[in-house]
Subunit: 370 residues, 2 copies
């Protein structure tokens, strides 16, 4: 395997610190080994800090962020229940797809791509649908680089007695996220974004109210793998015997343990500030060169930036030329395909130095392609 | 993380070769990087060899073997369809649970734990249920150490126009398995058993007939993550553009690439013989010391052996004493809890030397506990 190392400035995975890769490759141990159960407890405790929550049921799912989304919905939503989904990009659309497969009654609020979820529309929609049980939205839309106002959305949802599901794949440990203060009920993320861990894991947390709703279900959760009533016996600490559910990805969790340790050591506030400082440098550098950001300043998502492809420049040519220099950036998704690039400054890469690196690379590559 | 290395002689994970751990910790690259797509193509090609199949749709699911089971059923089975499940241990029971969640009509054949699936009973059951569409069974029951006759089971199922799902989690690359010759339609496995890779991945293969059945579905697959019609666009080679589905666990797949390379270099036949030779040594050593195997000789599963806990010996005390020597063995599951130990000689540990190592350790530990 003659792999060439890449500088990862796309929408994730981002570059992984050596100490995390070192942890990853420690000799495998059993998933019921007392050493491993202790590591899991430490992971869950660090995750509570990262999510800013006291939720007992806070753990890492053994699969990518997509399974975090699926786990949230298949547990919380029963067939026929009404779910309001706020869509402003690819991942809100995926929520709708998953709810359709559950047989839920889905009410969607469509916001223009590149703009945040509109709280006023949510208020109106919930007034018109007072039987809705769940509100779901994407805090950090990886397809558009938009951050929505999670706190306000959740407050409106709560005032209509709804539980709240929030996709925080690209916000956890990169921008402010306060699960308990904001009263978010189910929040999931991914390992390969601002946590700078290897891809393949999905941190998730459930409020007590969410767990209560799952316990009141009349129908079985349609997925065995995602059924939290089965998972709880393995992940919750303090049990005398921890029941086998599935074989956990032990090595990937070694890496997660180390990645979380780095976050705790740095502190969330410092990490949020680092992501913000880095992207402000990127904006300044690119705007000074005449490039245009897609998203209005107050709604931008620090870890992921959409930059409009200038007239006369080929989107794909620039990406290929950068890749030939071993630099990966992201293509536009959906409505932004061919029209925007996606730049990630996440985890390891959220620094002014790395912002300068990618700005230099992009600007010189555009120059050489003109 | 002060981890003590363990000798892994339980039901999996098994010890992972250094070259696989080295591959695991290579710097992360993107899941759409041309380098990674090439690695995936090579993985799929090696897997076809391991499964002994020409199936186009042969790939690695981004989650543990349990998701292999779930993916098999949620794609192949629609609500209301009749599925015959042969149960002779924990994993057959889990198949039933998954089918119940799908809303399938389940007919079960229960065989005594520690015995194989009875083909005559399957024949009778299919005669009584000529509207059954699927037959499912576990080739290698990890809970009991039993190997069932996959070829005969599939032949009977085919004579009743059923498609066949086989759980080969603990047989792939450890005992004879010939997907095409035996006409198995959907076969899944796990990474952490006879492949000696890290836990967290599930190799899977679908016959053309299975894919056709999925294409004829009247209802959506209930899981977005497991829907093979979405996965195909990412995993099948020869596509001009490979569509993003989810972020693949890139590093774990580096490890899988290397683990499969070791299998191909050794050859399947040599690997099957190695597993057989190793376990024959274990039987001989333990039987010479008066210990009793649970499963009759002709139905034993080479990679996993159930040994009866002798009278007057505490199951848990022996396991704890071995763990204090940094040796892991498996506890009995379900009906064998407290009554049998489970010994894995899988992948790296399938050698006469390693069989002697674990036999020595067990016998001296029993001696010291008497």
């Amino acid at each position: 395997m003659n792999l060439v190392k890449r500088e990862l400035f796309g929408p994730g995975p981002t570059n992984v610190p050596d100490s995390v890769l070192d942890a990853l490759s420690r000799p495998t141990i059993g998933h019921l080994d007392p050493q491993f159960l202790e590591i899991m407890d430490e992971i869950n405790e660090s995750l509570r800090y990262c999510f800013q929550t006291q939720n007992a049921l806070t753990f890492v799912l053994s699969a990518p962020g997509s399974i975090g989304m699926e786990t949230s919905f298949v547990n919380l939503v029963e067939p026929g229940e009404k779910v309001v989904i706020c869509i402003n990009g690819v991942f809100g659309g995926r929520m709708k797809d998953i709810c359709r497969r559950i047989g839920a009654e889905v009410v969607t609020i469509e916001n223009k791509w590149g703009t945040p979820v509109n709280p006023d529309e949510l208020q109106k929609t919930l007034q018109a649908h007072d039987d809705a049980e769940i509100v779901a939205f994407v805090h950090a839309e990886t397809s558009t680089g938009v951050r929505s106002d999670a706190s306000t959305i959740a407050r409106i949802a709560k005032s209509h007695d709804c539980l709240v599901i929030a996709d925080c794949v690209t916000s956890l440990a990169g921008v402010e996220l306060r699960v308990d203060d904001w009263e978010l009920d189910v929040v999931y993320s991914g390992s390969q974004k601002c946590l700078s861990c290897v891809p393949g894991l999905s941190p998730i947390t459930f409020s007590d109210a969410a767990v209560e709703k799952v316990k009141r279900r009349q129908t079985p959760v349609q997925s065995w793998f995602c059924d939290i009533s089965l998972l709880m016996s393995y992940y919750e600490s303090g049990e005398k015997t921890r029941a086998y559910h599935h074989t956990a990805p032990v090595n990937a969790l070694f890496a997660m343990h180390q990645a979380l340790k780095l976050v705790v050591n740095e502190s969330l506030e410092a990490r949020w500030a680092r992501h913000s400082d880095a992207v402000n440098r990127l904006y300044a550098r690119l705007e000074a060169a005449g490039l245009e950001m897609i998203v209005e300043e107050q709604h931008r998502l620090a870890p992921l930036t959409l930059v409009r492809v200038p007239d006369g420049i080929s989107d794909a040519e620039i990406r290929q030329s950068l890749l030939a220099q071993n630099i990966e950036i992201g293509a536009g998704l959906g409505k932004f395909a061919g029209k925007a690039w996606r730049f990630g400054l996440m985890g390891e890469n959220a620094s002014i130095q790395r912002a300068d690196f990618i700005a230099d690379a992009l600007l010189s590559t555009i120059e050489s392609c003109r």
